[in-house]
Amino acid sequence: MGPTSRNHKSSQKDVAPNEAKPPRYPQRNRSITASASASAFASPAVANSRVAKERPSSSTAGEGEPQETVLKLPSIPTLPARMAKLVPLEGLGCEAAVGSLTPSREREYKVTNKHTEGRRPVYAIVFNFLDVRYYDIFATACGPRLSTYRCLMNGKFALLQSYLDDDMNESFFTVSWACDIDGNPLLVAAGSTGIIRVINCATEKIYKSLVGHGGSVNEIKSQPSNPSLIISASKDESIKLWNVQTGILILVFGGVGGHRHEVLGVDFHTSDIYRFLSCGMDNTVRIWSMKEFWEYVEKSYSWTDATSKFPTKFVQFPVLCAEIHSNYVDCTKWLGDFVLSKSVENEILLWESITKEENPGEGHIDVLQKYPVPECNIWFMKFSCDFHHNQLAIGNRDGKVYVWKVQTSPPVLIARLNNPQVKSAIRQTAVSFDGSTILACTEDGNIWRWDEVDHPTAPVPSKKQK
């Protein structure tokens, strides 16, 4: 099954002959705007995120100071190998709650629009959740082109900007939103060439090009409470943490305890600024922590020397390595402290890692819920959630979208969106802030839009708009 799926994908991907991976995942940006300058934000957020926000600003303040003071940091010893390798526990009393495939029809959706982006597959589509002003803006990646659109209330799209990479061999697999410290929306995208493009959408200019990955980049996410930080998952078996503000490569996650094959997906924790997830072709999901290296993150904000001189650190061991799937894991996402992950096995799993406090190396995975998604057995199919993680949308190979109510037990299928015209595989979905609009991008280069029937307003809290 895995194999076929892969074949499927590669055959579909006519774009990059060498690169067999079309990324199409839904990037819902969960990242929120907190531009880092936001010391003004009286965020009631979690302590963690507050800390995160303050630190950058403080480091900015210290920019004028002699650098040595910043550099005097004690060298951090590399962590010992204490990675936990966990497998799910099976048997009576450990069953997962499986959702029924009968739609509850809690919400009704209908197709309202379709836009043909091009002839190449659209691999990524993502709303901007970082800034309330832009909640109705989404971005897509199609071949060497990136576009931003506004979702209008009447079911229409308005094309805002379109960027074209001069390297026509580029095929963008992923796109994400970020912010500079002034709150300007940044579009971050990368693909087959491995170069991460950071575009300032306010000025419509390329802001940075981050070179460093040794292979194509499969997914980029930005840190919700600290949106200058992005992580990128790459074919080179590593995950890299960047500061797009300064263009610095802060940390590299890979090596002895790292992924053994391409990394396909990453996701920042919603509230814990230190942790993130990664998943990849080695069938594992790993949880990483940058807590011990946080000072380098702080340092990256105030770094004024050449970016190449930054003391980039290697993080070789994740906190945890979960072996719950038996095939490529191509999408994973935090749901609070639980994890959603998806392999090419026609279902999404919700699980929690249970480790012993006294011995974090031991424990098991507790699979809590399963969300079946028929005909979803090719890889590089990504799901997305609305802002509050209430509902999840995932497309399948036949062009259907399954909308799950993700935080109920047992899971409820809200709706199955199908339209006879949507025939090709849906690589990624995007769910609007409140879940009333669902976008899907397909292998054949289209963007489809579903709106909730009888929903009074447009996809976004439009009251805030003007």
Binding site: T4, S11, R30, A38, L92, V132, K156, G194, S326, N327
Partner: protein, 895 residues
């Protein structure tokens, strides 16, 4: 829940007739009932589980909501902050225009109208995107959007994340290419499974079923109600995914867990570790410490190395330093002083320590005593007080111990020899009293002396205890005890001597004696022996090996906090005497303890000579290249040379014979082998004058070995300027030129974009011909693993495999150094050479000609004729990455 539990109680109420029938009496109805009950219990467990999930998900949802709301506030704050400001919405301008740039369906026409056509054209020349729509409804419009160009940025050549290694590492167990690894082949469009045949499948360790709580409940319930018969097990099997035997096992575990929970007999941590023998305690040391690299957790030689003990051990002296000072209050030297007087007569009576006959037990004592004659007599008086004091506490201790200890089975000879060891005169006297009960001649005196001991406390205790043994004489002597206090030395000496004689004679009647041995002294001794835990004993033996019979050093270095010097000393003499007697007295005479001791010694010997350690980790060694069934073609890769053979130290104790592992493998014995230096199979090193060693005249160089300062006569290095009296560091002309790998004297290598293909390695400073540049490091993997990886690498067209020797291949794919990026050339400026450095094969890269600064490095990969990738076969093309797929594994080989 309530209902289910009531049902459960219902069913249990039906049961009472049956329970006593036992498993065999179960009838079908019982099983049916059991089945029903279990099914119900299972449902109950499942519903509990679902409820628990629901609860957890809900809790998680609430927590998450707090976070997302917080994030929303953050997102909204940006908007608030920008409100009122000009251009607050960076996208507003575009958005305003955007209203004219509708894409997709016109909402008026509604979805699904086929006539509506939207076309989006990219005009790359003009850099515009033209959106046009035309449809049946007529309203067609064109929109032109300016495309923003993203300028081309220089790419870097592809690579996979790798870790720097400064020395080779053996592959970790979990780094093997899994047998289930599937990968997609872009060319053939098929999925390939990388494991070849079924022989990959082994891993015979079946996964054991892990029982969940729910399953435990089922099993417990079933076994409680119906016992553990075959039928019950079968029923359980339907509910639990495990084999009957596993269930049975589990039920016993559960039984113990539930029934015996209360009887928790736990030991303190200290006792726990003292209970282990040293072999066990040292297990991790033996497993983790690399004796070749002198580091723990050596990644090169791995864990579970064969333990090789060199046959030539330093002999240790039996005698102690003459002028040794006591090491502390509890030093046996103090006891010696006490005995000084008593020894006078026996001085020189015996000079050897070995004893061959039972009659020599006296000599043992004498010898021991004579040892103490050297100590300074003058100190006696000063110290005796403190000794006595310590002795008192000892006595009390032993008193307590005695209450619980049953009469010791220890043999008389031991008793005999112990007596001189004990630091106290009082002890000696007490011992005498024991014999007194046997031989009446001595008894009066002895008893008196016992009670003349200056310690009322000890006396009273003694009194209570020894009443049964010593008899009615006690009360009398108590009275006189205090009076006789001062008179100690002379009588004591005589009596103890006599007593020894008596003791040795009483050996013959040991049985009776043993019964009577239950006096204070014996119990004291028994006490101390019983507290010599296995670990302490082992440590003691090690100490003997290391320090000789020096109880001070042993106690201080190995038994610190566990045993005092005196205890060690007394143990030592006990033990020595017991062992010395062993040959004659036979087992019947030996105490249990001595027997155990002997057993241990034998076992220890066995342990040292065993070749394979049992730990599972050694499994990785199983893959030898011979068993892997390699194509014979591979042997030719060696470019006409025979394969290097991996060296493993042999454990031969003397000279290596035919069955020496090294001889069998065809390797030389090295300094790590157990055999003696005169072993004929040893590599003797070179005697090159001036330590040049850079030509084939040097035997080391000729054998592709680096010189070893431990082995070669003139090859050595030094540091410092000689001011501390060390030999002067020699200049370059004198320093051995054949130790560069060992000393890591490499050149600075730079990594950059190759002029030829992908990445390349460059040299920073100019070097001369045959200069050593650096080492090609990587993971050491078996040939079998290399074959698996090679398949994958060949698909990706970049292989960093390097044949090292017949057991290992170096793989620099994930771990290595910058030299792995040096490209292939048929006209190279470097060459690779496998050198044997301190028993390990390592790959050095050497300059073939003079190389100028910042030149790119190339060497000939020396692929086997039919293994070279296509590009390597072309005369000029030395490009690694543009090669077409080779269907053989590409290996680099040294010359």
């Amino acid at each position: 829940m309530a209902s289910s539990s009531s049902k459960a109680s219902d069913s249990s109420s039906q049961r009472p007739k049956r329970p006593d029938q036992g498993p065999s009496g179960k009838d079908a109805a019982g099983l049916v009932a059991l089945h029903g009950k279990l099914a119900q219990l299972k449902r109950q467990v499942q519903s509990t589980r679902l409820a628990a999930i629901k609860e957890r998900v809900e809790a998680n949802r609430k927590a998450l909501q707090v976070h997302t709301c917080a994030l929303f506030d953050v997102a909204a704050a940006a908007e608030v902050a920008s409100r009122g400001a000009e251009g607050g919405n960076a996208l507003s301008r575009g958005a305003a225009e955007g209203h004219r740039r509708f894409v997709g369906w016109d909402s008026a026409s509604g979805p699904g109208e086929r006539e509506l056509v939207h076309v989006q054209e990219e005009n790359l020349v003009a850099g515009t995107l033209v959106l046009s729509s035309s449809g049946g409804s007529g309203a067609s419009h064109r929109t032109v959007v300016q495309l923003v160009k993203l300028p081309v940025v220089d790419k870097i050549p592809p690579y996979t994340t790798w870790i720097f290694l400064d020395k080779n590492q053996r592959m970790a167990d979990d780094q093997s290419v899994g047998r289930r690894r599937i990968y997609y082949d872009p060319i053939v469009n098929e999925a390939l499974i990388c494991s070849e045949s079924d022989d990959d499948v082994p891993e015979p360790e079946e996964e054991k079923h892990v029982f969940t709580e729910g399953e435990d409940q089922l099993i417990w319930k079933a076994t409680q109600d119906h016992g553990l018969s075959r039928e019950v097990l079968n029923v359980l099997c339907q509910f639990v995914d495990a084999t009957p035997s596993e269930i049975e096992e589990r039920s016993e575990v559960l039984f113990e867990k539930y029934e015996k929970q209360s009887q928790s007999s736990y030991k303190t941590d200290l006792q726990l570790f003292l209970d282990k023998t040293m072999d066990v305690a040292l297990d991790s040391f033996d497993n983790l410490f690399c004796r070749r690299c002198l580091v723990f957790d050596c990644r090169l030689h791995g864990c579970s190395q064969n333990l090789v003990f060199p046959s030539e051990k330093q002999p240790y002296g039996h005698e102690l330093d003459e002028n040794k000072r006591p090491c502390g209050d509890q030093c046996y030297l103090r006891r010696r002083e006490v005995y000084q007087d008593t020894c006078n007569d026996d001085r020189n009576a015996c000079t050897t320590y070995n004893m061959d006959s039972r009659s020599s037990s006296l000599k043992v004592s004498a010898t021991i005593l004579s040892e103490s004659e050297d100590s300074n007599r003058d100190e006696d008086n000063i110290k005796s007080t403190s000794i006595v004091e310590t002795s008192r506490s000892k006595i009390t201790n032993s008193e307590y111990a005695d209450k619980s200890v049953t009469p010791p089975p220890g043999d008389a000879s031991e008793t005999e020899n112990v007596s001189p060891d004990m630091p106290l005169r009082t002890l000696g006297r007490r011992k005498i009293s024991k014999h007194a009960s046997k031989s009446n001649d001595h008894s009066p005196d002895k008893r008196q002396k016992i009670y003349s001991s200056p310690f009322p406390f000890a006396m009273s205790v003694l009194n209570k205890q020894s009443v049964p043994e010593i008899g009615e004489t006690c009360p009398d002597s108590i009275e006189s005890a205090v009076d006789q206090l001062p008179s100690l030395d002379d009588p004591n000496k005589k009596i103890s001597t006599k007593d020894m004689c008596a003791g040795s004679t009483t050996n013959t009647t040991e049985n009776t004696l043993r019964d009577n041995n239950n006096n204070l002294f014996i119990s004291n001794k028994e006490h101390s022996i019983s507290h010599w835990s296995a670990l302490e004993r082992d440590l003691y033996l090690k100490g003997i090996e290391i320090f000789g019979k020096n109880s001070c050093l042993i106690a201080r270095n190995l038994l610190s906090g566990l045993k005092t010097c005196m205890e060690v000393a007394s143990y030592m003499y006990n033990n020595g005497a017991a062992m010395a007697k062993r040959p004659l007295s036979g087992k019947s005479i030996l105490g249990d303890f001595a027997e155990a001791e002997q057993g241990y010694m034998e076992q220890d010997l066995v342990a040292r000579t065993r070749i394979c350690r049992r730990k599972g980790r050694a499994r990785k060694l199983k893959y030898t290249w011979k068993s892997a069934g390699h194509p014979t073609v591979r042997k030719r890769i060696g470019d006409g040379k025979q394969w290097y053979t991996q060296y493993n130290p042999c454990g031969c104790q003397q000279m290596c014979g035919k069955d020496c592992a090294c001889v069998e493998n065809g390797t030389c014995c090295e300094k790590y082998c157990g055999c003696s230096k005169s072993c004929k199979n040893r590599f003797r090193g070179c005697h090159c004058a001036k330590s040049q060693c850079r030509s084939r005249q040097c035997p080391c160089f000729a054998a592709s070995r680096e010189c070893d300062p431990d082995v070669c006569r003139n090859c050595w290095v030094s540091c410092g300027d000689g001011s501390l009296g060390e030999p002067l560091a020699r200049g370059d002309g004198y320093q051995c030129g054949n130790m560069k790998l060992l000393l890591k004297q490499q050149q600075r290598i730079l990594l950059g974009k190759s002029d030829v293909a992908g990445w390349g390695a460059f040299i920073k400073n100019p070097v001369n011909r045959n200069d050593y540049l650096g080492e090609y490091t990587g993971e050491l993997i078996s040939h079998r693993e290399a074959d698996k990886r090679g398949k994958i690498y060949d698909r990706a067209n970049s292989s960093f495999l390097f044949d090292l020797n017949e057991q290992y291949v170096l793989d620099a794919y994930r771990k290595g150094d910058k030299l792995k990026f040096a490209n292939h050339s048929s006209n190279p400026n470097c060459y690779a050479k496998v050198m044997l450095v301190a028993g390990d094969h390592r790959v050095g890269i050497y300059a073939k000609d003079r190389i100028e600064a910042s030149e790119e490095l190339f060497y000939d990969y020396r692929y086997g004729p039919d293994q070279a990738p296509a590009w390597a076969r072309r005369p000029e093309g030395s490009k690694k990455d543009e090669a077409s797929v080779s269907h053989h594994r590409a290996h680099k080989v040294a010359r």
